[in-house]
Symmetry: C2
Subunit: 179 residues, 2 copies
Amino acid sequence: MKRKNIVFIAKSLDGFIAGKNNELDWLEMIPNPEHNDLGFDSLMNEIDAIVMGKTTFETVLDFGGEWPYKKHIFVLSNSLKTVPENLQEKVTLLKGTVQEILKTIHVKGFYNLYIDGGKTVQNFLKEDLIDELRMTTIPVLLGEGISLFDTLPKLLEFSHVKTEVFLGQLVQSSYGRKR
Amino acid sequence: MKRKNIVFIAKSLDGFIAGKNNELDWLEMIPNPEHNDLGFDSLMNEIDAIVMGKTTFETVLDFGGEWPYKKHIFVLSNSLKTVPENLQEKVTLLKGTVQEILKTIHVKGFYNLYIDGGKTVQNFLKEDLIDELRMTTIPVLLGEGISLFDTLPKLLEFSHVKTEVFLGQLVQSSYGRKR
């Protein structure tokens, strides 16, 4: 079975995914009156499940409102013990190394995965386990914050797949890992 | 007289302009058999002079061969005392704050400037003195190196001007400072 790990994330021009106090308001600085989903629904149709860390999971919980995901979520955390009752069929907690986690997810029959959240993306990249990077750049320099990327044990070459500009302002580029 | 400070620079996906030991070989990882200049000549026609730091100047000197610039160069350095004899009409050494340096350059009649080199770009951005950012992204994650961006005293909003893909692989986006 073909396996694919896809990152889909927004970042500032200087590579931050959140402000230093986890601010996310700048992600919405470009008016989007018609609620263009920037390729999110299309991504959802390509994947079997979503993998995220505790921070991202808790951020989504904090948004409140309806649960936004139609796919199963795997939350990587060594400390979380339980998920809210209404999400128990939608969310699975996992712990262990990236390799162990992936094995568990594959055994459950999920092969095409959306990898989300800074730390989780970084941990997958360190193991060279990301096959596609889809990044949407917001035209702002934050100057400080939480970085999308971290150090890597080796250089990773990618191949440009496509670039689209949404709302005249948001540049979204997709890259496939060159193997 | 209208004044404009333009950055034109290549960076990795993770925002580095050079490897940790100043490696630049990855800048040429995409074959460019027809020597597409990626907009460099067009930039040269828009500007009056180039401003760079000592490191960039010395890197260009190290390349050897013919002097690559048709425009006057201002090199910002507090330590350099002299430039090679054959460049004395083409290169001016300047020291002082970014504001003082800019004033000197403007008084000499140069208004449209290409601002080059990591430290110099960072110092101009800290003073909010960059009007246009033109960045070409090389499809590689270096994992470590010399960063294009640094911390800023405040968030800076830009407006997307255009995006072009060169050689199918190099995404070049231009942004104007939103004032």
